[in-house]
Subunit: 349 residues, 4 copies
């Protein structure tokens, strides 16, 4: 079986990563890659890692009929084009925020008005480690956002184990790489200004809060910092659980191991890293760079539990997650095309 | 007037920075720089920025009589040598943690046993923005630690204004540069392993908590992350104030401006940065690299106030703070020798 | 068919990369990984990308019988142990310099005395793009060095085309990443000292000159600079050809395209990049990070031809080249296990 | 005495650095800083290191009368406005290339047509270490370019000593930081694309060749590489001298020490670094970051002499050199305002 796939918005970072993954995927074949800006250029012109591909960007106006259309465009584009995408494809895997929230009201609260609210119900949110329900056979998949993914992977085991309750205090402090700013990042992304930073770029009000609160039923404080790496998102979640064992006394490390193992023992893309020796004792984006893995870990500290997760934002936070969701949507082996090992050593991932 | 000064532990990063500052200082003259490892080498052998200095390291066994002895040695060395230091110098400015805490009990809780507890009472803690009492004429100055300095500068205005009370929740999430690991940083500091990291190196239990709690009367949760820069410490303090205006409703941005201006309007080394436009809207270590400045800022977010501070850990977090304290101890203009402007652009600071 | 393999010196950077490649290789199975320092530790303790592997380091004293033994030890170790290696394995693939030169005399000129000169003749030098003769069935393979590989890949087409003659002036100016210093890089490799450098670490006398001169029959001037990346080696070869078309007048770009295409058109691991538009117009280490590819390019400039090559020094400059050579030695598809695509964007590769 | 100064093009990197230097200069007072893009913004809006300055950008249309006007605009602007600049100021210190070449013919060969060729004769080229003739009292100063400065400082002693003759082979291989691309660097300067690079951005035909050939009387091959730092330019000049001692045999290290000491022993901004021990054995941009110093060094290698120079391109390659030249033009102490010590450790300078 070969499934045909197209990538809309293929000149961006997530789009390029989709091309990389789908090209090496055992079940998908890329038949179209769109980019208005780079129409007729080879994909290698923009993505030097893909110079060997015999593929040119086409304008997004004339979409081929495909099994799966991956939309890696800026927020707002998919909602404008959802009908065209669904005309062209059996399944739309959308990497933007357009279909991530469950209701028009929620959308309007965090973003501008939604122009295709009728499709919100049909969309299935995809962060498979939170649940795979509805993904098999879905016709609109809303792939989870990078910072939300890291945060939720860190927190979910505490929620599942009943330690963290909806009223508990949660502070999520994220550190992210420059690729989150996209391929045309603007003045703040220029190398002289962006190198070596610790920059609170979204100290409050980051829109990924919305999907976290909707998916996990938690209210949380969320701050995002730019740091000097290209790929990577690391969430440090300072939580103050009051449920379950926490109600009886301090949570101890073995309680946390139980919670995290229960949550993730069968997950192919989660790796638990919590303490131990050597240089790499907690989750780090470097350790998963270029892979679809999330490293997840924790540390107990009295009434505080610090929960960590680290991902490659372009992979597990975007293209990898989208391919994972597509594998599930089409009933394939869910790890197909996603078994890359990371590198060591590696610089800025 | 010229005051003589010696630097013990002068081959380390803080020691080298002391040499840089004291060499250009209008009132101090460096007469001795010690290093057991590099005895007889020129200081420029280790510190390439100081090649022009006609000064060689001597062993720390034979100390010159000086007005001020700056001890920039690892923790534990100053307590072992405090009598020798005080024999040699009128004033000991200690950059280690040895004399920062007020009592032997506090010391024993966080560090190993103290070997010179009789001197703890004589030592004056120095983070001048917290208070200058006792610094004029002090004979032992305990210069505040880097991460504690950043954290306390962020929080102090909230305490002073009565917004933050001792029982309020405070999470301090720090991002620090590799110079904090010192000149012999070990395997985790090697370039291939340390480049591009977001590494939770002290997720809990960092010993700077002790001095913060002692100085500010707050209990806080404290986590430190290594990120890819050389100089710099950035504190993001997620606070949930319940005092003063916070008791009456949400704290608004103008309330915070009042609190921070009240706390720092006369401080020569504090710069308030909170919102506004452009690329640099909040405190960043880059913006103060090479200077004794702290950038301090804040953001209101419902019941949360996020307080930020960014410093150069080698300067405001170590050598600059020590010189600032020495200026005060000797009754000099407190900014003497500390008026460097930072650079723009600059990479990893 | 499954071939068994062991990696000696598996805790180093090249050793870890061999584990990564051989684990995913369709024909090889890793049965032993040795490290004296980390005996009994899991390989994931040192190499965080390999945490999933169920494999522990063993001491190098008791070698399993294998089809292929990959030696990734410091120079000098393989010559001391060559008999033990050949007792254990049908084929020794050596990544050190010990068997790269053709004669004891050459070895003694550039290194210290050779302790197993009798084996020099049996060893086959492996940079497959220079020639595959002798590799099929070889029992000692000497895998080419990283900086030599980059330099020779840049120059070979000029030699093959008769443009560059043995007496022509060639200056090779290399820029390399910190992984070349190995896992225990010493003070110059510590992050604070190594970040942001342009450091002439081997301005003259780099020992890779020896194998270049032996393999290409050229005499060249060779200087190596450390720059801020982890993986990567980039060679800029300033050449002044006098042969062939150069004897008749200036060499033009089409002449160079002919020469480079002739040399590499059938090579699976060489990508020609020379001019064109966009951001990536010449060979860059970033574009091949994590892959076994070499980017090779050129620019004509009057009587000068600038020849470029960029590789990932841990891959094409070490582990990838060794696996490539092993594939050839065992008669496998030469690209087996080496088809990884690179990443875009990527920071310090 | 206080001299008034204005900076045209003050929102760029060199312009900001001029503001930093002139603000702290004992003899100059900044009265105007122009920027069309940021008119009415504070200078701190763009340059976070200058937040304390009470100065706003004005449009460049209405220039104040000043003693010195520093023009830090892109190439082509000064020639269009030279009359206005000279109307406003006694002395124009131009940081662009507009007045660096001696003749209209030379200009037309390397750049587009010159629109104010009548002023070329009046302009005095300023790289003071090459000669200070004409600078005292000059009314147009053409401050030397960054890459040319580094290259010429490396080579001049070899020329002065008669070792390097006009027909000798010289290859200059430069490695430069991202600040050379300016404040609006475009796609190739975005952090994800620019991080970790070794990128041959001007393999041939860099326009700084013109001033080097004019000033030193040498013909040279010139290639410029972008590497991962923000500030800094490092020149590695591979030379093959045939004059003087070189005609009699190989040049030895003591010959080179003589040549370099003779050339620079009285120069306040040149530091010789050539071999020795420790981590910093040759010129490095890091060691001079933020200063007006050039590190210069060399290594002998048979018939090759490798000559090195490292500068901070924003300082010695632009603003520092311009202030140095202004000091000379106005008869001030030439080091006034330029005595900053560098930092250690420092990341990407």
């Amino acid at each position: 079986m070969t499934l045909t796939a197209s990538v809309v918005g293929a000149s961006g970072f997530a789009g390029g990563e989709l091309l990389r993954l789908l090209t090496a995927h055992p079940e998908f074949e890329v038949v179209q890659a769109t980019s208005r800006q780079y129409e007729n250029r080879t994909v290698g012109y923009v993505h030097p890692n893909l110079r060997e591909l015999d593929l040119r960007f086409s304008a997004p106006d004339d979409l081929d009929a495909v099994d799966a259309l991956f939309a890696a465009t800026p927020h707002g584009v998919s909602m404008e084009n959802v009908e065209a995408y669904l005309d062209a494809a059996d399944t739309l895997v959308d990497l933007s925020a357009d279909f991530r929230l469950g209701s028009e009201a929620a959308y309007d609260q965090w973003y501008d008005g939604h122009t295709a609210p009728a499709y919100l119900d049909r969309a299935v949110y995809a962060l498979p480690e939170l649940g795979r329900e509805g993904l098999d056979g879905a016709d609109i998949v809303a792939s989870g956002g990078c910072n939300a993914t890291a945060t939720m992977l860190a927190l979910k085991p505490l929620v599942d184990a009943g330690l963290l309750t909806p009223d508990d205090q949660v502070v999520a402090d994220l550190k992210v790489g420059s690729s989150e700013g996209g391929a045309g990042g603007g003045p703040a992304s220029s190398h002289p200004e962006r190198s070596g930073v610790v920059r609170p770029y979204a100290p409050t009000g980051h829109r990924h809060e919305a999907e976290i609160e909707e998916q996990l039923g938690l209210s949380l404080s969320f701050s995002v910092h730019a740091v000097d790496m290209v790929r990577g998102a690391a969430a440090t979640c300072h939580t103050f659980p009051t449920g379950g064992k926490a109600a009886e006394g301090e949570i101890e490390t073995p309680d946390l191991w139980s919670a995290y193992r229960d949550a993730y023992e069968d997950e192919p893309f989660v790796r638990l890293v919590a303490g131990g020796g050597g240089v790499y004792r907690y989750p780090e984006p470097k350790s998963v760079a270029g892979t679809n893995l999330a490293e997840v870990g924790f540390a107990a500290d009295g009434d505080r539990v610090v929960a960590f997760a680290a991902i490659d934002n372009v992979m597990k936070g975007a293209a990898g997650q989208a391919v994972h969701a597509a594998n599930l949507a089409f009933g394939l082996d869910e790890t197909a095309g996603l078994n890359q090992l990371g590198l060591h050593p590696v610089g800025s991932p």
